[in-house]
Symmetry: C2
Subunit: 416 residues, 2 copies
Amino acid sequence: MGSLGPYQRKHKITVVGSGNWGCAIAKIVAENAASNPAIFEEKVEMWVFEEKVEISKTSRHYDPSSPLCQGPQNLTDVINEKHENIKYLPGITLPSNLHANPSLVDAVKDSTILVFNLPHQFIIKTCEQIKGKILPYARGISCIKGVDVNEEGIHLFSETIGKILGIYCGALSGANIASEVALEKWSESSIAYDPPHMDSKAPSPNRSPSTSTENLVQFEHKDVSGQLSQVKLQALPSDYPPVDHAVLKSLFHRPYFHIRVVSDVAGVSLGGALKNVVALAAGWVDGMGWGDNAKAAIMRVGLLEMVKFGEKFFGATINTRTFTEESAGVADLITSCSGGRNFRCAKLSIERKQSIEKVEETELNGQKLQGTLTAVEVNNFLKKQGLEEEFPLLTAVYRVLEGSMSVEDIPSYIER
Amino acid sequence: MGSLGPYQRKHKITVVGSGNWGCAIAKIVAENAASNPAIFEEKVEMWVFEEKVEISKTSRHYDPSSPLCQGPQNLTDVINEKHENIKYLPGITLPSNLHANPSLVDAVKDSTILVFNLPHQFIIKTCEQIKGKILPYARGISCIKGVDVNEEGIHLFSETIGKILGIYCGALSGANIASEVALEKWSESSIAYDPPHMDSKAPSPNRSPSTSTENLVQFEHKDVSGQLSQVKLQALPSDYPPVDHAVLKSLFHRPYFHIRVVSDVAGVSLGGALKNVVALAAGWVDGMGWGDNAKAAIMRVGLLEMVKFGEKFFGATINTRTFTEESAGVADLITSCSGGRNFRCAKLSIERKQSIEKVEETELNGQKLQGTLTAVEVNNFLKKQGLEEEFPLLTAVYRVLEGSMSVEDIPSYIER
């Protein structure tokens, strides 16, 4: 790493978002920027939604003589001076070359690689704010789990970002519980990155041949709903190291965070959505006390339906081995069915004989479960396609949620 | 089910073996024999290695006036009168049409379907005892998990049984903890069954075209070591329902025990062996406190190496989707890495800072772990082939066991 040739310019990195997963990823990226000085600028920007925080008297950072400890302070100031996001990732020291920036526009300015890591309800608004204010040849990586499913089709968050900003955006997803990654406990993740070839010789199967001018490539992309979009991509100037699989690995791979870079953006993104639905069923079955055999059976059927869903709705643009071989597939499914919040809340809902909404309320502090939302969205989509029966587990989860099926009925229903 | 046509004869079933898994399977088979009277004889034989047992005063079967409660009794007598194997599967009522038979030869006499379910060290001796004393056109199903690996090659237990007895034998394996199956907790299992076509029109890829006489088919089978064996199979008389996937499903499928019948005997058998090696690594990682991400990463790499092992050594005779789609593959791996004994002992060995042999001694009552044996056997085989480096997780497990690698080294070693 670090010996990618003598380029005159270096990549500037910005992380957009600073929740617990945002900070964990920013920590990794900043560590790698510092240790690969031939490729990356040392200073990494992180956009932080500014808010007031207070360093408590029991904190390791408390110092009665410090101005930072005199009442409420800006979160960015605390991060930049104490190198810790005391609100969203307390206890973890962030690298000193990571700069918290309260200005979104200033944070992304001049950056060639933008890492998006924020709750998905904020994606569109955030992208609209920086549209036209980023380098036209920037590249993105979306760390936002899942996909956006509605009756009409399935949209990848990476595509939404790319379309608004007019850039190419890949995806990162995997068996990653943020707190464990932040503590540098060993884990793996998948990055999917497959931009159109700027020499336009080998178009991907989901794109029509592109036409290129000196530094502009235009390509057509057809999403799962059949919607065609035209994207104009600007080539990266040749004095930067090319943003390829090797550079992305240099940016995200750590001794405790092992990266495999693949080309299947849809597969990597889809796994992160569907596994939450499967995790609900696994939680119910576990809550029933049906044991490890039954839970493993649910996960097997879930994996099978993930593969089938990919084959059916993405065809040749997806590699079904992503689900069975990559961290974003089977490993993320396993983690989510072990201790993820969808699994836990579903299990509690059986044990306490409460609705899952009730458990959400008492356990999640007002946050909503991703799995229940996705189950409804996926069901609306399948229903519209007339394909509910072909995905019995995904359908069963929806029906249990809406109350038309009981957990006891799942085994016989998914058997067919 | 049950409407397979008006055959004049019915299949007689014998279960060879009566441990906890033997009895759980015998219970299923006897339930199905009773509910499919058009296909199966109602009475199912189970061979029981005779021993003396005593009904304790606290037992629900204790009746001071019963002769069965006067001191030590034959296990078979207790099973036949109380319908419970009080020694190996206590608390579970066995069907009244299941007959415990202390005579191996008498138990298998006239049976058309033999279900083998006994510890693998007894397979050869048991088969030798009944060789020539079974119906020449009988068919077998081996419920013995795993495969027999040595330096020379990999042998399936089903093939060993078939070769000694001169019959065709398939395999059953899956995510099945015996005690949970016995309690009728829902689970799934895989049966693999792919006998040569008796009309010899469509030989399987691992067999040369067979020559058939009126009721005899001779086929050649080449195992993974390249060893060629000739088997003469006698056709089932046409007044029996053919032993096919539908009949096997009728015999093993229950509302609480869902069966998928496939043709990949090698895949179904291999999964049951290799997952135990992976479970050791998962146990170590869990014992280290590395969290769910790390455990999922180990399982992902394990699944990948299972697929690769199958592809490499079984080529076209194996279906790699067996590992990623069937209960005998990914689901059994998940169950084994959740609470299986290999997982538990490996985890304890880290937590107690003891060797795994020491944990075996204190936890398993003199029994040996399957995973440690298989890890050594697989490593001998890989070493002989010069392929240790291509299977880094399987190799790492062996090296940790022999003391030349530490658990801390596993992540970086398997990364390559």
